[in-house]
């Protein structure tokens, strides 16, 4: 593991390309963006930030477009239905199902990250999240929950830690 970049600078695509190979990974095409030790307040911060961002945001409840007034309302709705927030970042989209109040998890398709431009966008989004809430944000494989099988992390100081490729070589 090495510090490879600042979140506002570029992480070379060649260094992380293998982590986004959806065919060879045991986790196939999904990757997660994960933040631990959160609360409803964290979710509130994120949702307020998203409302001000240029990203296209859409809530869907059991397959139908919907709107919510608060995070509390979202988690209430989630007790009986599937609530999804889709976020179009331009190069690709991410989404969250609001799995838990105390952890934030977005996911995206590894196949959408296939070059420097989309990687930069991902790193930028993760860096912005980290800056916003002052916490470490983890990009991980999806088969293990809670970001344990991480690929890279952006800490609260915007340092990017990239995992060595051992994990990929084990699967290939």
């Amino acid at each position: 593991m090495m510090v490879r970049a600042e979140a506002d600078s570029s992480l070379p695509w060649a260094e992380v390309k293998s982590f986004f190979d959806s065919e060879k990974s045991e986790d196939l095409d999904r990757r997660d963006i994960f933040i631990a030790d959160c609360s409803k307040e964290t979710w509130n911060e994120i949702l307020e930030w998203l409302n001000q961002c240029p990203y296209q945001v859409q809530f869907v409840c059991d397959g139908k477009p919907c709107a919510f007034d608060s995070v509390t309302e979202i988690f209430q709705a989630k007790e009986s239905s599937t609530v999804i927030l889709y976020l179009d970042l331009g190069q690709f989209s991410v989404r969250t199902l609001f799995f838990y109040e105390d952890q934030v998890e977005f996911d995206f398709s590894a196949s959408d990250i296939q070059g420097q431009v989309s990687l930069d966008k991902l790193l930028s989004f993760v860096g912005e999240l980290s800056k916003l809430i002052g916490k470490e944000v983890i990009v991980s494989y999806s088969s293990e929950p809670e970001g344990t099988d991480w690929i890279f992390k952006v800490d609260a100081f915007q340092k990017v830690l990239v995992r060595d490729e051992d994990r990929v070589s084990k699967s290939s």
């Binding site: 045991e26 986790d27 397959g63 988690f75 007790e79 929950p145 084990k170 699967s171």
Partner: protein
């Protein structure tokens, strides 16, 4: 036994790729009618163990001369086992190995390598308990990531609605559907992974677990 032509895939390539787990069953008549082109493999077994056995039984040059009866395998061993191969070089008149001697070790391999059923493997809890008291299973959690509309590609699963329990049920239903589909094929991938595919993009992936069985890693 004639098999309806399907697709031709280089058998040697497949055997190499399926170095550890699984394989694939598919065959077609060669264009000149002299024999079969084939994909060799068996459902529910490790090809790494099977390949040397085949070689020992028939020799690499005669791999393509296997011909087996799936119904017989099912009746004998209670598992879905399929081999339908002809002889690329010798046609139906080509030499044949001892099919029964081949099937028996295959059944044994299946028992030792997959002590947990894939459906059980898909039920492994995944993540913590939600406030509702529900907890995702592997299949349920991954179903949420692959249901209709959740990805730009492969929107082939039912749409995502309901609670965690509903997602778990849908995930497990899909695993069962993949496994019980008579046309499902098993592929060894990259030495350690096993993909089981029912076609139309419905594929479940498994990896070896610490207890010698398999755990599900997700849908494809």
């Amino acid at each position: 036994m004639d098999n309806n032509p399907t697709t031709y895939v280089d058998p040697t390539g497949l055997l190499l790729e399926s170095a550890t787990y699984g394989g694939h069953v598919d065959g077609s008549r060669s264009a000149d009618g002299s024999g079969y082109n084939f994909r060799i493999g068996v459902s529910a077994v490790g090809a790494a163990a099977v390949a040397p056995f085949i070689a020992a039984q028939a020799g690499p040059a005669l791999l393509s001369s296997f011909l087996a009866n799936p119904a017989q395998a099912t009746a004998t061993f209670g598992i879905s086992l399929e081999l339908f191969l002809g002889s690329v070089t010798g046609g139906d008149a080509g030499p044949r190995p001892n099919v029964a001697a081949f099937l028996k070790p295959v059944a044994a391999i299946r028992t030792t390598q997959f002590p947990k059923s894939p459906v059980q493997a898909s039920r492994v809890p995944c993540g913590k308990m939600a406030k509702t008291g529900e907890q995702y299973t592997k299949a349920g959690r991954d179903y949420t990531k692959h249901a209709e509309g959740q990805r730009r590609i492969h929107d082939y699963l039912p749409p995502l609605t309901g609670t965690i329990s509903d997602h778990n049920r849908m995930g497990e239903q899909l695993v069962t559907e993949i496994l019980e589909n008579p046309t499902s094929v098993w592929f060894g991938k990259h030495n350690t992974l096993l993909d089981i595919s029912a076609g139309s993009g419905r594929t479940a992936r498994f990896k070896p677990s610490n207890d010698g069985g398999f755990v599900m890693t997700g849908f494809r």
